[in-house]
């Protein structure tokens, strides 16, 4: 019965940390876990990590959830969209839970893994891959695993070269010429290297287990991989290597970086190619008819998804499914999330419009006052989380003044008023 019994054994199990609140994304994550935030006209952020797993041949993935998981749970289900609805393995959603001794929330990234040791152990893996659910990149984890094995490492950390000028904003790893990690520096003032940790780790499971249990006993620990586990392992002379990754990689933890990552896709030849069928990014596919561009539409340098109807002008913007854009409307440098309905003669510049918002005719979304705290995010990006349907539009609503044109109220053809989000 050798293989019959061994069926559940897996060489490597991936664990995706998807429980973070993502508070720096403000209204975007008010009712939504960060990994579930829409991205790139079609995807949710976690699609990239899940697709990387599938494309890397990993078929056993735990997703650790905690904050507002409903949308994420519904979205991921049993992983069919990423071909992970497998008999043996597949995707498991892992919320915190009650035990006989009571229950506790995930205290940190390391504690979240600790609380799910039983799950990992049931696959008797040799290795565990720890991933974040909020990075945009394409990476073949199987190559990193090969590297980990080849180096006979206990821990391997994926690193990317960042510009020297920015290195002080990252966790920096100093290595010897073989890639062996000698030192960690968290946001060093004077970085000795420009190799930044990507938050992608491979551990030999037996070794990691020990450290997790040790760490749990330490009352001063914040139970975090970057802050506690990895430094402790390094201190105790475990074999730790840096795996150099080349390619596009972006942490989309802030409004600005999220906006930038979307805009990056609009380059003529973007570094992250969504159209490459050899490393496809999978997602739940909406069921919408093809988009309709009317005789008055003008769309360029943009991504537009199915179900959109466009009468106006759209430049350097990303439109998710089911967006309606009225005649005379101008949209530039904007991200318009699913089912947003935009009336006629609206002006939108450098903004993120949240799912289901309705914008009445003649409104202007782009605050003119640079100092306005309500409308301006750090990066000068307006985030609109609420419909504009009335006449009482003020900065306080995170929305920006109407044009001088008479307000008429939005009447889309057959569209109902979107739900109010804020």
């Amino acid at each position: 019965m050798k293989r019959g019994d061994d069926l559940r054994k897996k060489d490597c199990v991936a664990m995706i940390l998807a429980g973070g609140q993502g508070s720096r994304l403000g209204v975007l994550t008010q009712k939504l876990a960060k990994p579930a935030v829409p991205f790139g006209g079609k995807y949710r952020i976690i699609d990239f990590t899940l697709s990387n797993c599938y494309n890397s041949g990993l078929d056993t993935v735990g997703v650790l959830t905690q904050y507002q998981p409903l949308a994420l749970n519904t979205y991921i289900g049993i992983g069919g969209s990423w071909d992970m609805d497998r008999k043996n393995g597949g995707v498991a959603l892992l919320p915190p839970y009650m035990r006989k001794e009571g229950g506790e929330w995930y205290k940190g990234t390391a504690n979240a893994i600790l609380q799910n040791m039983d799950f990992i152990d049931s696959y008797q893996p040799n290795y565990v891959l720890i991933l974040s659910g909020d990075h945009i990149y394409k990476m073949d984890y199987s190559l990193m695993l090969d590297y980990h094995k080849e180096k006979k490492a206990e821990a391997t950390i994926a690193v990317i070269e960042v510009p020297w000028a920015e290195a002080s904003r990252f966790g920096i790893l100093n290595t010897n010429e073989n890639g062996k990690v000698l030192e960690f520096e968290e946001k060093p003032a004077k970085p000795k290297s420009n190799l930044a940790s990507m938050g992608v780790y491979i551990f030999s499971w037996e070794v990691l287990k020990e450290y997790l249990q040790q760490d749990e006993q330490d009352p001063t620990s914040s139970n975090d991989f970057g802050k506690d586990i990895n430094p402790k392992m390094l201190k105790q002379k475990q074999r730790m290597y840096a795996y150099p990754f080349e390619g596009y990689w972006k942490d989309v933890g802030t409004i600005q970086s999220l906006w930038e990552a979307n805009m990056d896709l609009l380059d003529e030849y973007p570094q992250l190619d969504l159209y490459d069928t050899n490393w496809q990014i999978y997602s739940v596919n909406p069921n919408q008819p093809p988009q309709y561009l009317s005789a008055t539409a003008k769309v360029c340098r943009s991504l537009v998804n199915e179900g959109c109807v466009i009468h106006g002008s759209v430049t350097r913007s990303v439109l998710f499914p089911g967006v309606y854009v009225g005649t005379g409307t101008t949209i530039k440098d904007a991200i318009i999330m699913p089912n947003v309905k935009i009336g006629s003669d609206v002006v939108i510049k450098k903004a993120i419009i949240c799912e289901g918002v309705t914008i009445a005719d003649g409104c202007q979304v782009s605050c003119q006052e640079a100092g306005c705290q309500q409308c301006y995010s750090e990066a000068g990006i307006t985030v609109l989380g609420k419909s504009i349907t009335g006449t009482d539009i003020s900065c306080h609503q995170k929305v920006v003044r109407r044009s001088s044109k008479e307000f008429e109220g939005f009447k889309g053809i057959g569209f109902n008023t979107g739900e109010i989000l804020t």
């Binding site: 008819p289 561009l293 539409a297 057959g414």
Partner: protein
């Protein structure tokens, strides 16, 4: 509509869409950027709450099997009822010759018997519409009809309408929605004869949707097949006109019957009317199809797209007008596409000019080439052709 089973009849197909149906039945012809023809009637049935749907094919059904698979994308992968496909001649030996729709039904009589629904709706597959079957059932019950036939009345004078009313099953409607008489207009009738019949009284055309009690259908099948008759309309309906209460239900929304290359081309371009688009895809329900992974459409610097439908994963850097682009079409800089239908994975290279053409899947038009047809005679280019 839990009490109704649906049957989709592909037996009437006669390769009317030559050129784009070489490898597929009419029902599997790509339409509207991301659909197959059968999606419309199948989704309409699903939206009406019909949970037991069977498809009786005639030939070349592999494309259809590939498209529908387990029926999951139409929510028809069910433990009870669900989607069934019946192919001719695979039940016993494959030497049997296809005799007609009633023979197919007869071969699978056990399935019909075992189905728990009391009513059955039978539909052709080549209808582009978002059909409300609930209204037909209400009409059927209210009129105490034995059979209800859905028809359309001529209401516009477009050329395409003319064609539509020049063939098929024409009805003469009497009082109380009852059908007084009907006649099948054959292709070889002279135009003057067709006109005469139409002007006289046969001025309503059946769209190919019929509703009746399951028990009556079983009676019609058994009675006809026992006598060696295999045509539902001629043998089942017309011969029983005197004894059955056959009613006509008038369909008023958008409906197109795709039965020629010209009607395919014209009705595709119908969708560029936003009202038709809205009606067809949302009202009363959504149209489902096999989902495919693919990124959004990318519009490049030189893109200029007007009055067109574009499906996902296209990359466009050229000019597109009054056209329909299926998934993964690439339009390079300087290309101009007008009044055309471009199917999946086709590549249009720089400075190509296309007008009134239909390109099947995976065609490639190389730099600078020009193709031009007429609206009533579009140029059709077969699958995988390189020009």
């Amino acid at each position: 509509m839990k009490n109704v089973m649906g049957i989709i009849n592909l037996s009437a197909e006669e390769d009317l869409l030559k050129g784009i149906t070489l490898h597929r039945p009419d029902a599997a012809v790509p339409f509207a950027g991301r659909y197959r023809l059968i999606d419309f009637i199948l989704s309409s049935m699903v939206n009406a709450g019909i949970k037991n749907i069977s498809i009786f094919t005639k030939n070349k059904y592999r494309a259809l099997v590939d498209h529908l698979q387990s029926g999951k994308d139409w929510d028809l992968d069910r433990k009870r009822d669900g989607l069934f496909m019946f192919h001719p001649g695979n039940l016993k030996e494959d030497t049997s010759i296809y005799k007609g729709f009633l023979q197919s039904l007869y071969n699978n009589l056990d399935y019909i018997y075992k189905s728990k629904q009391e009513y059955v709706v039978i539909s052709d597959a080549n209808l582009v519409c978002n059909f409300d079957f609930e209204q037909v059932l209400n009409f059927h019950l209210k009129n105490k009809a034995d059979i209800t036939i859905v028809y359309r009345e001529k209401d516009k004078n477009k050329e395409i309408e003319e064609q539509f009313f020049n063939r098929g099953l024409m009805l003469d409607l009497g009082e109380n929605n009852q059908i007084a008489d009907m006649i099948e207009i054959e292709a070889d009738f002279s135009i003057s004869k067709k006109r005469r019949l139409f002007n006289k009284k046969f001025n309503k055309r059946s769209v190919g949707i019929y509703m009746m009690a399951k028990s009556l259908l079983l009676d019609l099948i058994n009675a006809s097949v026992a006598r060696g008759y295999y045509d539902l309309v001629k043998d089942g309906f017309i011969k029983n006109l005197a004894t059955l209460n056959i009613c006509g239900y008038r369909h008023q929304g958008y409906l197109a019957k795709i039965d020629s290359i010209e009607s395919y081309h014209q009705h595709s371009l119908d969708l560029l009317n936003q009202e038709v688009w809205q009606d067809l895809f949302f009202n009363p329900g959504l149209i489902y199809t096999k989902v495919k992974d693919g990124p959004p459409v990318k519009y490049m610097k030189n893109a200029k797209v007007n009055n067109s439908l574009v499906a996902n994963a296209c990359i466009i850097d050229g000019v597109v007008e009054n056209s329909i682009l299926f998934r993964r079409v690439k339009v390079h800089k300087g290309a101009l596409i007008k009044n055309s239908i471009i199917m999946q994975k086709t590549e249009i290279e720089q400075n190509v000019v296309l007008e009134n053409v239909i390109l099947d899947k995976e065609v490639r038009i190389t730099k600078g080439k020009r193709l031009k047809g007429e609206p009533n005679y579009p140029v059709v280019v077969g699958k995988k052709t390189v020009i």
